[in-house]
């Protein structure tokens, strides 16, 4: 087992995986808190078109992902709150982006293997320079996030009060989406376009189920994210099944275990858990989910 670590592709996989797991776990906490899980899903699908365009042009697919996801994040930021609840519109844009991706791959000859790599991750073929790019982007993302940490947390938990106190909520929201675009572009290397949810949302959502204190939830989210990634990599080396399958399976297992635990404790915790609503577009029947209040206040304006 241990001699595996002498091989450079294993080292690269672990290095890139660790950086990605750290960044996605921290960003994921805010994604869940801000109920933007679907935005993450959308950004990764749009990134698929970018990644395939880059493959076609013969440049690194990471660059293509960056270009497309950053543009899409700017677009979403410009639309702001109007993006919420627009399943049909978002779905149409997503499908078109995927369709474009298919076209680009079709123009490129070795379509099959490349597609699967982008869609489901190709962590075992990450190069040393990819690791360096990932590291640089990861550090930049985390530094920026630390810089805006407190206002972002405030704006995420209670946007109206934050706005009233003079926090630039709109600006923070655009900045956050841009950081999210970078994070997703990196995460795609590990788990692929289709499985971004497993690293971005599942650890944070499970952590929020288990504790309601931000610091504890963040720490737990990081621990879970690292555990899923390392666990997935180790299992993949031992068991020969794809890394992304193990990561997705581990995260699904833990997420539903966390829901089960939360259910068991619910009578004691009462209303606390509704501080972190996890539905990003259906404004359903959460008694005091913050989205509901937001939409209610929007309707009142």
């Amino acid at each position: 087992m241990l001699e595996l670590f002498q091989q450079s592709f294993v080292q690269n996989a672990f290095l890139a995986g660790t950086i990605v797991a750290l960044v996605t776990a921290i960003m994921g906490y805010f994604v869940v808190l801000r109920a933007q899980a679907f935005a993450g899903h959308a950004l990764s699908h749009i990134g698929f078109a970018g990644a395939t365009a880059a493959v076609l042009l013969g440049i690194s697919s990471l660059l293509g992902m960056f270009a497309f996801t950053l543009l899409a994040a700017l677009g979403m930021g410009a639309l702001g709150e109007r993006v919420r609840g627009r399943d049909v519109e978002i779905g149409m844009v997503l499908s078109f982006a995927l369709g474009l991706g298919v076209l680009f791959l079709n123009l490129y000859t070795r379509q099959g293997a490349q597609t699967v790599g982008i869609l489901f991750g190709s962590i075992l073929s990450v190069t040393r320079s990819d690791v360096l790019v990932t590291l640089a982007c990861g550090i930049a993302t985390l530094l920026l996030l630390i810089l805006i940490f407190r206002p972002l947390l405030f704006a995420s938990i209670d946007p109206e009060v934050a706005q009233a106190r003079g926090v630039p909520v709109q600006l923070l929201s655009v900045a956050f989406l841009l950081l999210l675009a970078i994070t997703i572009s990196e995460a795609v290397q590990v788990v692929g376009v289709l499985l971004v949810f497993a690293l971005l949302v599942a650890p944070a959502a499970a952590a929020i189920r288990l504790t309601s204190r931000p610091a504890a939830a963040l720490a737990l989210s990081i621990v879970l994210g690292l555990a899923f990634t390392w666990g997935g990599l180790v299992l993949a080396f031992v068991g020969r099944w794809p890394v992304s399958f193990y990561i997705a399976a581990l995260s699904a297992l833990f997420y539903f275990a966390a829901i089960g635990l939360d259910r068991l404790r619910k009578p004691r915790r009462g209303l606390q858990s509704s501080i972190a609503p996890d539905s990003c577009k259906v404004l359903g029947h959460h008694p005091i989910g913050h989205e509901e209040r937001m939409s209610a206040s929007e309707a009142a304006h």
């Binding site: 779905g91 499908s95 099959g112 539905s279």
Partner: protein, 296 residues
């Protein structure tokens, strides 16, 4: 341009594509009206695991798709109160299903090509048997929808009033999700798991923006769906680009201008108002889609 029609595989593609386009447009109309488009998306992703499992077992992928999507449809229907509001839960299940699919395919030797064809469709490689299966299931689905047309429409527009009037809302919604599951399984052959939106939701969403009356909207959706599919197959047969790209591009290209140019008073809101006018005023609990419409 049209001489490609003499090849049997193009004929098969046209036959299967037409059945799928009709049934997807009709089911899609109700899907849009019920605000369940995300469920359609989720079902297709879950179906990927089924299709991949079937490939591994050496069975026709359609049957794997049917088993998984119908199972998931019933599951979503039964848990609707809990799950419909839970994007994250659906997202995690979807992700897990996709990864399961990739696991099954990685155990199979023709790995990448098979994954590609399930994800993005293989209408040009469809067999006579597939056409027959598609025809049977599509006819059954359309037949059931016509049979249930009125109660289904009523529960889609105003579930609360329908419930009060004694319409069996919950069984209907589960049955509807099963029909969606069957439709998704059929559509995957044409556009693949990932582009299901283009055939299922695209035509219906465009039609509801243009005309208000359900019968007209459904007719228009069917016409749009058929023309997207036919044009897509014709262009692909004559060129080198994939069918699913053409269908996705046409579907998006038609939807976009309609979405922005159609006068705001046509479409969904007008329909809803008309229905509400005829019925006693709906109670204060608006469902999520209506609420979002109010917000904008």
């Amino acid at each position: 341009m049209f001489d490609v029609l003499q090849y049997p595989f193009i004929q098969n593609a046209f036959l299967a594509g037409s059945f799928v386009a009709v049934v997807a447009a009709i089911v899609g109309y109700f899907l849009v009206m019920r605000g369940l488009t995300f469920a359609g998306h989720a079902l297709s992703h879950i179906g990927f695991a089924g299709a991949a499992g079937a490939v591994l077992l050496g069975v026709d992928p359609v049957f794997g798709l049917l088993v998984f999507t119908v199972g998931a449809g019933v599951g979503i229907g039964l848990l609707s109160k809990e799950i419909r509001e839970r994007d994250i839960a659906i997202g995690v299940i979807m992700t897990f299903a996709l990864s399961l699919g990739i696991l099954f395919l990685s155990l199979y030797s023709g790995f990448a090509e098979r994954a590609y064809s399930i994800l993005f469709g293989t209408i040009l490689g469809i067999s006579q048997t597939d056409v027959l299966v598609t025809a049977i299931f599509s006819t059954l689905t359309v037949g059931l929808i016509l049979f249930l047309f009125r109660p289904l429409l009523f529960t889609s527009f105003d579930p609360q009033v329908a419930q009060a009037r004694g319409v069996p809302v919950r069984p209907l919604s589960i049955l509807f999700l099963v029909l969606v599951a069957v439709t998704v399984s059929m559509s995957v052959q044409v556009v693949g798991v990932l582009l299901i939106f283009t055939l299922l939701v695209g035509p219906a969403a465009t039609a509801t923006r243009l005309v208000a009356r359900p019968a007209w909207a459904i007719t228009l959706a069917v016409l749009l769906g058929l023309s997207y599919t036919w044009i897509g197959i014709l262009l692909a047969a004559n060129g080198t680009w994939p069918v699913s790209f053409y269908i996705a591009a046409i579907s998006f290209g038609v939807y976009l201008p309609v979405r922005f140019l159609a006068p705001r008073w046509v479409g969904r809101r007008a329909v809803k108002m008309r229905v509400v006018d005829q019925e006693p005023p709906a109670d204060a609990v608006l469902n999520s889609t209506q609420k979002t419409e109010v917000c904008t």
